[in-house]
């Protein structure tokens, strides 16, 4: 079958303490694939550059972020199924907890998605000539779209490394001044509306402020099918990943049980990926659990999520007959609770493909693999070559 599934395990890579979560996990299927496939290390952007999830995904999917990255806001908005219009400015939003003027939790106790959804409707509003669209996505995450004449993305974040700051214009333009003022008006009005909401009355960490960052303008990107001559589908829970897929014109498969968190239904995602292979050449399958656990510094949850992938997701993928490419978009070491620039393991498996001597899929063993050390930009050429859909350069 000349089709491929790219499984991106968000935040997969880690550091040894003394083992990495991937080394410590029981993962028969990952290791079986490593043994009968070929492995290597991947620098999602370039060696030791610390990637964002957005830039890493764009680069891995064949879109150099230096050219194609519109900022996180628009990608999240597309993921949340907001139909963006030219001139819109979109921002990434967090529900957070503020007390006596200080942010005491920038994720409002990692509020559950269903609670956050109930807060959504009160956060849509008209301010002067501007429409403000708010949409909650997964847990504390959401997106704000500002729609009016004469806006600019050149405004500062209100989410200043965990502190709340008023937005200020980043240049002297009328557009930036207007946009920063709009953001501050929205933030104040949102605080008023949130503080008395029933959902918040029962929470020890109330979702009583919206922190905003990564303002970006909407910009159309040439489609995946145009660029690579193959059809692609995306199976993901998180809004950002669906947004990236929509931005590059991939079909986004609806998987109701894909939650974008550690509790996501992996069997449902696996089935959706395999179904999508029927009428697509390529499926991009995203799972978030490792990254969230890494950010929380939670070794055990990260290890357990890898074990769940091994048991609940890989068997179906291995039976699919498709070429499998498994990697991460960056490392999120538990010891750092943040993204790092350490490369991530990558694995390629398919009929009659080259193998190597490596028997284990982890950060240390993969360094000696037959794929060598790759960069994000190499992944789409690798996949097109695997499925015999690459265009020859020259004759």
């Amino acid at each position: 079958m000349n089709k491929a599934i790219l499984l991106i395990i968000d935040g997969l890579g880690d550091l040894p303490t003394p083992k990495t979560p991937l080394q410590a996990a029981k993962k028969t299927n990952f290791d079986r694939l490593a043994k009968s496939g070929a492995v290597g290390l991947l620098s999602p952007i370039a060696p030791y550059i610390v990637p964002g999830s957005d830039t890493a995904h764009l680069n891995i999917l064949g879109y150099d972020p230096h050219t194609y990255y519109p900022g996180r806001g628009p990608l999240e908005a597309l993921g949340a199924e907001i139909g963006l219009q030219d001139g819109d400015v979109a921002l990434r939003a967090n529900f957070a907890t503020i007390k006596n003027g200080e942010i005491i939790d920038r994720r409002a106790g990692r509020i559950e998605t269903k609670d956050a959804k109930q807060l959504e409707s009160i956060l849509n509003m008209q301010i002067d000539d501007a429409q403000v669209i708010f949409k909650s996505t997964v847990e504390h995450r959401g997106v704000v779209v500002l729609r009016a004449e004469g806006l600019s993305p050149k405004v500062s974040d209100t989410d200043d490394h965990g502190e709340y700051k008023q937005s200020i214009p980043l240049n002297d333009s009328i557009e930036a001044i207007k946009t920063a003022a709009l953001i501050n008006q929205f933030t104040n009005e949102a605080r008023n509306r949130l503080q008395n909401h029933t959902i918040n009355k029962k929470r020890s960490l109330p979702a009583n402020i919206i922190l905003l960052r990564s303002a970006g303008p909407y910009k159309k990107i040439p489609s995946f099918a145009e660029r690579f001559g193959i059809t692609g589908a995306c199976v993901a829970g998180g809004a950002l990943y669906k947004g990236i897929a929509r931005a590059i014109g991939m079909d986004v498969v609806a998987v109701p049980l894909a939650t974008g968190d550690a509790k996501t239904n992996l069997k449902a995602k696996g089935s959706a990926a395999i179904s999508a292979l029927v009428d697509h050449d390529f499926v991009f399958l995203h799972v978030k659990g490792c990254d969230s656990a890494g950010h929380d510094g939670d070794f055990k949850t990260k290890k357990q999520f890898i074990e769940r992938l091994d048991k609940e997701l890989l068997p179906a993928l291995m039976k699919s007959g498709a070429y499998l490419i498994i990697t991460g978009d960056h490392s999120t070491p538990v010891s750092r609770k943040a993204h790092s620039g350490h490369p991530v393991p990558i694995l390629v498996h398919g009929d009659s493909e080259r193998t190597d001597d490596v028997l284990k899929f982890d950060e240390i063993n993969c360094a000696a693999g037959g794929l060598g050390h790759l960069e994000g930009k190499d992944v789409m050429p690798l996949i097109l070559n695997l499925i015999s859909k690459a265009k020859k350069y020259g004759s």
Copy 2:
């Protein structure tokens, strides 16, 4: 001796079924060189990009094809010793077999070179103000040069993935319209002349049509000696490879017994390469047999050609005292019958050079070699460094 021979084995790389031809071949000398030298993998263009032979050779020889690739037509024409003039448009030609309007063999049964040569004279013609120069090269391959005022390479191929299509102009210019019309007139007249030729009467797959592709304009390229400060010679049978060498101002050594196919006289090519070392710093030695066998899906012939190289070519090269660099320009897996983007093995051998632990020269073992994973652009710096002819960057 501060001189080097670069042996490019066209289409060398392959995929395991379950062994690659290189793994399956008896190749004592290749493995001896691997053991006492250093090996690695080479991506002739960039990782997993599927190379053409033309772009790959240019890149390996230090000419970035994004800047220097004039199209295959002019390179083949230079290789066929047609003295190109400014304004010429050159195309790659195939003798093919057409029956009831359909191409039933796009290589006319891989017609032998000597038969093809006999058809050459009837294919040179004057059409209105244009001179059409036809030259047969190796087997079914040939080249057409169009010489007239006001021509353009912006015309479609008549060789449309194995189907015959009339050439059409690719833009609205008078030049493109004139060139496409000229190509179609030549094709019709050539069919008339070919169908009754005595050579074709005895053939079950007559060479009764000329298919044309890769129109390109003649463009002078800065010379190898100017760029690298060393003198270079080329020993090759195929017209394309001699053409690339001429395009970059290398001396092309005449080797009457170098046929550019699997029957080429390897001892004669080896002797020619060693003789050329006397008055050149560098010899580029090309052999085609593996690529043709790969395109034909012929594992046994590919393996046997590697064994012939091992027995008939390597001993002389190993005695020469020159630094040896052995690699391919791309993979042509037998299972795909086409070029692929899989990297190719590379081997470096010379007095007092670094070695590694790899004992075998093949696609799998070389992945762990001391040279690591290189790209085509790295080969000329590697060679200049080997022979101590590199210019220092900085002071």
